[in-house]
Amino acid sequence: MLEAVIWLLAYQLAGELAVRCFGWPLPGAVVGMVLLLLTLLARRSVPEGLQRSVPAMLGHLSLLFIPAGVGVLAWWPQLLDAGWRLVLVLLLATLLPLLGTAYLLRALLARKEGAR
């Protein structure tokens, strides 16, 4: 556990550093994820400490989104004001990319696998 936390924080810090140095419009954590992936690919294995703790941590990923969700309460009056129109926009604008990506990807994968 301790080792995993050290690895993860180190890579996030490296990501934060890179983002600030190069002025990228990205969160440091995403860059940290890419850096860790590159490291794992280079060493061709996952360190024992990470391998043991990470699946359990990711299993509880949902927990971390609850505070952000509660933050919705702070906007309640504005959201109520927009009412059903907002609900409809959110629903459609979530479904369109979800289904659009899914159908396109399925078609592309099927074509590729058919060609083989």
Binding site: L50, F65, G69, A93, T101
Partner: protein
């Protein structure tokens, strides 16, 4: 009695309270999710938020005091995002085999996400700040807040939309994809990551590790894509509209 109420108030303003409340709400949400055999509406993020919100409203506790503790958990989103590199690594061979198809699907999904928010938001006459805060809706919270700020939206409102979209995606994905026959783990994972970021990713990890890896990849890439495309597209859409 007054001293007791004063003590309760003091404790409710400290960081321990928000942390404890969130953990208990999450535990209860997991229990409910199991009792309902993973029914989509018993999604742990959704139920957890509703429970915490109910306690705050019932106790007359301000969201700010809750956030003293909530912030600690939000902080952990960073290392958790980095940890996604591990499942990505394990699925890397599978991901690389479909790299071309994934890149095209990503581009299409990202464009659809941005344009549908703007076009639908304006079509339904939502206020402009709200429309601009809707744009980064399908990417992970920290990127969305940055993008919203850059294009003239409201970062915290954008974060609220991100969460609602993520919950919608997480709730809908399984019933929808089963019915439409789209249960291939690559398609399921990738589309969810593009449209419903971390909350969707957390959901598909429960379905399979493979789908989770595709979702994590899509989430990361769509974050980059949206950060790059949103300002450009808004410029073009703005010119078309006026």
């Amino acid at each position: 009695m007054d001293a007791f109420i004063a003590a309760c108030l003091a404790v409710s303003r400290g960081p321990l309270f928000g942390l404890f409340l969130t953990l208990v709400a999450y535990r209860a949400a997991l229990w409910l999710n199991q009792r309902c055999h993973g029914h989509p509406l018993s999604n742990p993020v959704l139920v957890g938020c509703v429970l915490v919100g109910a306690v705050l409203l019932a106790g007359g506790i301000r969201v700010d005091s809750y956030m003293e503790g909530g912030r600690l958990l939000l902080l952990l989103l960073g290392p958790a995002t980095v940890a996604l590199a591990v499942p990505l690594y394990h699925q890397f061979a599978k991901l690389r085999r479909s790299a071309g198809a994934l890149a095209l699907a990503l581009l299409a999904g990202s464009l659809l996400g941005i344009t549908s928010s703007v076009v639908l938001g304006r079509l339904f006459g939502l206020p402009e700040t709200m429309v601009l805060s809707l744009v980064p809706r399908s990417v992970t919270t920290p990127i969305a807040m940055g993008v919203a700020e850059a294009i003239g939206g409201e970062p915290t409102l954008a974060a609220a939309f991100v969460i609602v979209s993520g919950i919608l995606g997480a709730v809908l994905v399984r019933p929808l994809f089963t019915r439409l026959g789209l249960m291939d783990e690559r398609v399921l994972g990738f589309a969810t990551g593009v449209a419903a970021h971390g909350i969707g990713t957390a959901r598909v990890f429960q379905i399979s590790q493979g789908a989770g890896a595709f979702a994590a990849l899509a989430m990361g890439l769509n974050g980059l894509m949206t950060a790059l495309l949103a300002p450009l597209l808004l410029g073009w859409l703005g010119r078309l509209w006026h």
